[in-house]
């Protein structure tokens, strides 16, 4: 196996000298792993598609609302939060908060994350606040997804 040394140019706060990490050539090591994973994923997709084919319900009828109706699973947390938040904040209506918080504010925070989190360390032990906030956000999304399923 051909092992080579590559240089890591990242400057970290504690050591400013270059860190050496063991590197493997992209070809064939990295590519081989990728191909194995790709075969596995492609096979799984074909298996899932054969066992659970995509559904097709009755044609759209604007005059009959089916029960229950759910949005796509990745939007359920927005839907769940909208159902969850029922309090008006002063002049701001509950519904406005219910859609703005999980869409505009949440995505705004995601976009700005690297500019909000100025801690230069990528060591998980030195990022306790960021990790805690991440876990809270994750549990929150799971909770509101659950809330959206229960309170449709």
């Amino acid at each position: 196996m051909s092992l080579i040394e590559i240089e890591k140019h990242e400057v970290e706060e504690e050591h400013h000298e270059q860190v050496r990490v063991r590197g493997l050539p992209f070809f064939p090591h990295f590519l081989l792993r990728e191909i194995v994973v790709m075969c596995f994923v492609a096979g799984s997709l074909i298996l899932l598609a054969s066992l659970y084919p995509a559904g097709l319900q009755t044609p759209a009828d604007p005059f009959t609302t089916p029960e229950p109706i759910f949005p796509e699973w990745y939007f359920l947390y927005v839907y769940g939060f909208l159902k969850f938040w029922t309090w008006n904040l002063g002049p701001i209506e509950a519904k406005i908060i219910g859609v703005t918080l999980p869409m505009v504010v949440w995505y705004g925070l995601l976009f700005l994350l690297p500019f909000i989190d100025r801690n230069p360390s990528s060591d998980i032990r030195k990022r306790k606040v960021a990790v805690a906030l991440g876990v809270i956000a994750l549990l929150g999304i799971l909770y509101f997804t659950y809330f959206g399923i229960v309170h449709h």
Binding site: V21, L24, V37, A54, Q57, I69, I124
Partner: protein
């Protein structure tokens, strides 16, 4: 040394095969990125994207984007077109897997702190890619024009429409009127097969170019 190695070496001695390989092939990947399966998630999302392009082109050949024809054409794909049911089901599963993979990929980047200097812009491009991927899902959901499509889109456009200030414009832009109908269908189709694929191709190019320039971020 195996026989294949010997053949390769014999050819390499004479033709300098190694110099012909594109630079990416010779570029070293850090060992942790090869051995840790968490580093596969972005690649899985990209594979799903490629499968979606392939199956999507197939579906576009049989699909008719009008409220009158859409449902019948999807029914035709599911029952009469050879392999149609399989291709549509793969499209469906690859779409869901892609969204899940993008989200998990983002979680890995977050918890490993890989978005930090100098990779801030790549994170921003990544979040945009997540937005585009979910918009792909949202626009594709309407196209079969069945009860689920119609009413899920009703909820979705309703939620987008109740955003303050811009909501009503987004809603009008998406639906092309005050309710889901002809205009909505053709708009969603154009968004799904023209606007979003072009946008995602450009952003994926940027995403990969930045990784290529900056390398994969450090260890845990």
């Amino acid at each position: 040394m195996s026989i294949l190695d010997k053949i390769y070496k014999w050819l390499d001695d004479r033709f300098k095969l190694r110099d012909l390989l594109p630079p990416i092939v010779k570029h070293p990947a850090p060992e942790y990125a090869v051995t840790n399966p968490l580093y596969c998630l972005g690649g899985i999302a990209f594979l799903c994207f490629l499968i979606l392009v392939g199956t999507g082109i197939f579906l576009a050949m049989y699909y008719k984007p009008t409220p009158l024809e859409a449902y019948k054409s999807v029914e035709n794909i599911m029952t009469a077109v050879p392999m149609g049911s399989l291709v549509r089901s793969i499209h469906h599963w690859a779409a869901n897997t892609m969204i899940a993979a993008v989200m998990l990929h983002m979680m890995r980047i977050y918890f490993m702190g890989a978005y930090k200097k100098p990779r801030e812009l790549n994170w921003v491009v990544g979040v945009t890619l997540l937005l585009i991927t979910t918009t792909f899902g949202f626009s594709g959901y309407l196209l079969p024009w069945d009860q689920l499509s119609f009413w899920a889109t009703k909820i979705g456009t309703g939620i987008a429409g109740s955003l303050p200030i811009i909501g009503q414009y987004i809603s009008l832009l998406l639906m092309g009127g005050s309710d889901i109908g002809n205009e909505t269908m053709t708009r969603f189709f154009a968004i799904h097969v023209l606007i979003l694929p072009a946008t995602i191709a450009i952003l994926l190019g940027l995403h990969f170019a930045m990784i290529r320039i900056q390398g994969i971020s450090g260890r845990l």
